[in-house]
């Protein structure tokens, strides 16, 4: 079928009053959460999943709400980078480098409007890219059998640590931990009870929402408690925004930077193991290399140094949706959380989603286009509103976030045991973060564990117990090569890339 007619049908879904309202709410809440330091897109979406679910929204409306939050958070991350020199989320780290100096020169308003436009272009182009690329990837994915799917999941885990990972053993440990937790409960193939130790609460397994909210949102609260003294200290700075209207000359001058940032970011988003942080890092460093070799203006408030990484990280967040929707395999923390949304709604992403539920996919994509325009409108004239939110002290904000997490989990499970389990995940998340064990593979393991096992067992049933079926097709072999390369490369380059990112930040 023609992509344009599918997209047209998608707009019909997205343009209903309810869905427009949800997109608006999502964009607003997302920008808010992105702007708050510490509450990144993954946390924002994680806290809202149980709430969206217990509101009884249908699949498409919930998805529209939550992906709007995701896009909104990507826009919002830049606000605190520019005004406070504290990235609202990890991908916004590079925006600090030139954004904060601009703010110090009294050009915060220009920096905010410029980065708003850069975000818009990045996200818009990436959404177009998603429209074009996802159906192509679906065609490849339709060739996959159970064995290929098993290897594809392995690719996801092997590359998840990404090129910036400094310790692959910790990524592997995290993935195994998540997969191990996923095994708890009754076995989907034979019905045997596994790892439940006759404990009734465990018969249905551990709800992944409990793990996600605990590991992401609650562990953030613990991190804040640990550092509470330092967070009081920075209260004194009052961000001044200055003129908010965009400076069109400046934006026009930054267009080439935005273009390069967008292209790089999109590819970083689509590729496994890269994601938005690497997208904005690549966009910034390439921009520095190509327009400011001598290092005269970058890092001192060059508008191009704001435009490129912002376009990059927003394009990457759009690009990251390609593998998530087309293959059902997310490449980053936030898309893993979006996968949780789909699974919670009983929708299995992947090639079949495009043929079975086209209205979900295309309604979502249409909503992303609409959300983008809403975000542009919100982020240029209304940016002053969001900067005011930054004045709310974290000592009040964090407890509120914790309570909303509790409300969400309690309202869907209604069980004290599950709420306590969430606290347990929160503490475990804090310990793992201290030990630099990444949390995203844990989440992904819990989400994908059962599917990964089911595919393995199906493949083995088809081959009648012959393990060689896992390397039995050229496609599977290619995927193994990607998995092994993706796992081994960071052992050599991870430390270097990470060190460069850090040294840029602390210069």
């Amino acid at each position: 079928m023609d992509i344009l007619s599918l997209l047209g049908a998608g707009f019909e879904v997205a343009l209903t009053p309810q869905n427009l309202f949800l997109a608006l709410m999502g964009c607003f809440l997302g920008t808010l959460m992105g702007a708050l330091p510490g509450l990144g897109p993954a946390n924002g979406v994680a806290i809202l999943i149980p709430i969206a679910f217990s509101l009884g929204l249908g699949p498409t409306p919930s998805l529209i709400l939550l992906t709007s939050v995701y896009y909104g958070a990507m826009y919002g991350g830049r606000i605190s980078s520019i005004l406070l020199n504290i990235p609202g989320d990890e991908p916004a780290m590079m925006t600090c480098l030139d954004g904060y100096p601009m703010a110090k020169q009294g050009k915060a308003g220009e920096a905010l409007s410029l980065s708003g436009v850069a975000s818009f272009i990045g996200a818009f182009v990436a959404t177009c890219g998603l429209v074009v690329l996802a159906p192509q990837l679906v065609k490849i994915a339709l060739l996959f059998g159970p064995a290929e799917y098993f290897v594809l999941f392995t690719v996801a885990f092997a590359t998840l640590g990404g090129i910036t990972s400094t310790n692959q053993a910790k990524s592997a440990f995290a993935a195994a931990l998540g997969l191990g937790i996923a095994m708890i409960g009754s076995d989907s193939q034979t019905g045997s009870q596994r790892f439940t130790f006759d404990h009734i609460h465990l018969y249905d397994g551990i709800d992944f929402l409990i793990a996600i909210v605990g590991l992401f949102a609650l562990s953030e609260v613990f991190i804040f408690l640990e550092h509470h003294r330092s967070s009081i200290a920075r209260k004194s700075e009052t961000p001044k925004v200055g003129r908010i209207l965009p400076d069109f000359k400046m934006i026009l001058r930054c267009m080439p930077s935005i273009g390069r940032g967008t292209a790089l970011g999109f590819f970083a988003g689509v590729l496994p193991g890269a994601g938005a942080s690497l997208g904005s890092f690549l966009a910034y460093s390439l921009e520095k290399q190509s327009v400011d070799r001598a290092g005269d203006t970058f890092g001192k408030g060059d508008p191009r140094g704001v435009a490129a990484p912002e376009a990059g990280n927003n394009a990457a967040s759009g690009g990251a949706l390609v593998p998530m929707l087309a293959l059902g395999v997310p490449g980053s923390g936030t898309t893993a959380v979006l996968l949780a949304v789909l699974l919670q709604l009983n929708i299995t992403p992947g090639p079949l989603l495009f043929t079975k539920n086209p209205e979900v996919v295309w309604g979502l994509i249409a909503a992303l286009f609409i959300g983008n325009f809403m975000l542009l409108a919100m982020n240029i004239p209304l940016v002053g509103l969001f900067t005011r939110v930054l004045m709310v002290p974290t000592r009040i904000l964090m407890p509120v976030v914790a309570m909303i997490s509790f409300v969400g989990i309690y309202s869907i499970t209604g069980s004290t045991f599950d709420v306590m389990l969430m606290v347990g995940f929160g503490v475990a998340g804090w310990v793992l973060r201290k030990l630099e064990v990444p949390l995203v593979p844990v989440i992904l393991g819990i989400l994908l564990g059962n599917q990964m096992e089911v595919n393995l067992r199906r493949a083995m049933t088809i081959s009648d117990g012959d393990w060689l079926t896992l390397v039995g097709s050229p496609l599977a072999i290619i995927l193994w090569v990607i998995a092994i390369t993706g796992f081994v490369l960071p052992m050599y380059f991870g430390r270097r890339v990470r060190a460069r990112m850090e040294s840029n930040r602390h210069e």
């Binding site: 709430i51 400094t166 053993a169 910790k170 592997a172 440990f173 195994a176 997969l179 191990g180 095994m183 076995d187 193939q189 034979t190 019905g191 045997s192 009870q193 596994r194 790892f195 609260v221 804040f224 408690l225 640990e226 509470h228 003294r229 967070s231 974290t394 000592r395 009040i396 964090m398 407890p399 509120v400 914790a402 309570m403 909303i404 509790f406 409300v407 309690y410 309202s411 209604g414 004290t416 709420v419 306590m420 969430m422 606290v423 929160g426 503490v427 201290k434 030990l435 630099e436 990964m452 393995l456 067992r457 083995m460 049933t461 009648d464 430390r495 060190a499 460069r500 850090e502 040294s503």
Partner: protein, 163 residues
């Protein structure tokens, strides 16, 4: 490109031996977890349905990855993370205890009352004056109750008093 003075090389300088203990302890813990996991996998009972691989094979693989990566932590540990001082550490333990207490109290005394105290405690520990913490607690609890229960219709914990 290559010369990034100080940054990359400084971080990889090995520190004194005792500064890698956390990872080693973590590795031992992980190894025990892996052994426990594999043992727990061996006692999975077969049901009347069977397939070629059975319900134990995948857990064995997972347990093996857990064990191997834990061994790596023991033999090639990372540098010591910045652990909090004892005081900050106690802070986290108490906060977790309050949250557990909160989970237990939810059905006992209801959402409104327990949320006031849980929020007030956390706000107080994050550096607000006690009286203001209580005010924040009341406002948060009331605010969440109005928005999520009265407007959005989420079911919150009901105590003996009905709220």
């Amino acid at each position: 490109m290559e010369a990034e003075p100080g940054s990359a090389s400084m971080q990889t300088i090995p520190k004194a031996k005792d500064s890698t203990m956390s990872d080693r302890i973590f590795g031992v813990f992980g190894l025990l977890l892996a052994i426990f996991y594999i043992w727990a996998a061996t006692i999975i009972k077969d049901s009347f349905m069977v397939d070629v691989v059975g319900p134990r094979a995948f857990p064995y693989m997972v347990g093996a990855v857990l064990g191997i990566s834990s061994l790596y932590f023991i033999f090639r540990p990372d540098d010591e993370p910045a652990w909090p001082l004892f005081r900050d550490f106690a802070e986290i333990v108490f906060a977790a205890a309050v949250m557990l207490l909160y989970a237990w109290a939810l059905p006992e005394v209801g959402f409104l009352i327990s949320t006031v105290f849980a929020t007030a405690y956390l706000t107080w520990r994050l550096g607000t004056k006690p009286l203001w913490s209580l005010v924040t607690g009341v406002l948060t609890s009331g605010g969440i109750y109005v928005v999520f229960h009265l407007i959005l219709g989420l079911s919150l914990a009901k105590g003996p008093l009905g709220f």
